[in-house]
């Protein structure tokens, strides 16, 4: 167990990198996923088709392939995710601004992949809003966007929050793949380095890494349980 103490700084920095990766990807996935969900319920058939195609592709493709594509194929066509070098944001999340593209590309991969699941969770939430309310809003003269913004989405979010939480937990676990696609210094690559090149004993290292992930996933799971319970009482 000495390894945990000896390399505590590496575990901590690995945790910090994974945390950044997850936070940015979660925000990205929620934004992209909402947009795709809006496409999927839009009254314009071609937009609906785009939304459906997106979900079909990213829900059915292994994440490893999406990661592989983003990390190694995108750079060959000149995509390095430079649009993510957002001023100020890259001060807070240093990895966004680095020369090496892999952190940004991992954010893109996780975002694209997770967005498909966010979309489906949201759509289930949207379907839980009685259709009559959307119809009443239409009959008042609200446009499609006003209807979404003021009537449908506020209620859909509420119904979708628990499934969305599960999607985010799955995403945190999925983020472990990033260490094998060029991202240096996240939790999983720390494990790889300590046990491989470092020659440290495997079991203690893996315990340390597991703690890193559980620190993120368990509180989120507990929070979801609480939301669900409070919902049940309110009902």
């Amino acid at each position: 167990m000495d390894v945990l103490i000896k390399y505590s700084d590496q575990f901590v920095s690995g945790f910090w990198v994974t945390f950044q990766l997850c936070l940015l990807s979660a925000i990205g996935a929620l934004v992209v996923g909402t947009a795709v969900a809006v496409l999927r319920i839009s009254p314009v058939p071609p937009l609906r088709a785009v939304g459906t195609a997106y979900v079909t592709v990213f829900r059915n493709m292994p994440l490893t392939i999406v990661m592989f594509f983003c990390a190694f194929a995108l750079p060959t066509i000149g995509v390095n995710g430079n649009f993510l070098k957002i001023p100020l944001l890259d001060q807070l999340f240093r990895r966004l601004g680095t020369d090496l593209p892999f952190f940004r590309l991992a954010v893109i991969a996780l975002t694209l992949y997770t967005a498909a699941f966010v979309c489906e969770a949201l759509r289930a939430g949207i379907n839980a809003v009685p259709a009559g309310q959307a119809e009443a809003a239409r009959s008042l003269g609200l446009t499609f966007t006003q209807n979404l913004r003021h009537v449908v989405l506020p209620q859909a979010w509420k119904a979708a929050i628990v499934p969305l939480g599960s999607v985010i937990i799955a995403m945190i676990k999925n983020s472990a793949l990033a260490g094998f696609f060029g991202v240096v210094g996240d939790l999983s690559s720390v494990a790889d380095r300590l046990t491989g090149a470092g020659g440290e004993p495997i079991i203690p290292v893996f315990i340390g890494i597991s703690i890193g992930y559980l620190i993120m996933t368990i509180p989120l799971g507990l929070l979801l349980d609480r939301i669900e319970k409070r919902r049940a009482v309110a009902r």
């Binding site: 009254p43 009685p130 009559g132 309310q133 119809e135 009443a136 809003a137 239409r138 009959s139 008042l140 003269g141 609200l142 446009t143 006003q146 003021h150 009537v151 506020p154 209620q155 509420k158």
Partner: protein, 246 residues
Amino acid sequence: MTDTPLVQITAVNKWYGPLHVLQDINLEITKGEVVVVIGPSGSGKSTLCRVINRLEPITSGSIRFDGRELPAEGKALARLRSEVGMVFQSFNLFAHKTILENVTLGPVKVLKDSPSKAKEAGMALLSRVGIANQADKYPAQLSGGQQQRAAIARALAMRPKAMLFDEPTSALDPEMVSEVLDVMTSLAREGMTMVVVTHEMGFARQAANRVVFMADGQVVEEAGPEEFFARPKSARAQDFLSKILH
């Protein structure tokens, strides 16, 4: 007093796939008129209501409202819908908003009224339908009759030129029917143009200028209420009335 009817439905057909739900409908409704639509289940009454503010598109024919052809989907259609109030069987209040917020949403977002003006007008409407003291509650906390009165206030808040009611009392417990009908009767007295799908014969007798009887997607018979209930001409109407009038 007006020469062009407020609602002018000409040769309208509507198909749901192979189902011919509106068959060559012709109907004119003048300003201030109260038209009650009755007929057996599945005869197309709801569909007729829904095509008037184009919640459903028609397959052929023409519907003119206030002298203009109904526009295609888009901003212009949204504006037209705001001129036609609609009240549904299942109330359809916005569950996450208070009663007052339900009533002010349309005026603020569609008519661009200031929130304070909308609130003031909304409270006046809620008093008028007798539920001002429920303004800050959520729909689920109200009885069915109160919810339906709130839904009527919500539609009226748009200052519509006409109101459509699709079986507004069918989902209510019997003791709450009259509180909703009273509101509708007083609206009719004040000169609101109304299309009301209902089986409440008392309301039809009291408030309607005309009864339209539909069966199998067709307008089978039209007459004043006294005439219609006393001497229905078609066999379909006679049969229907004999079933519901006892």
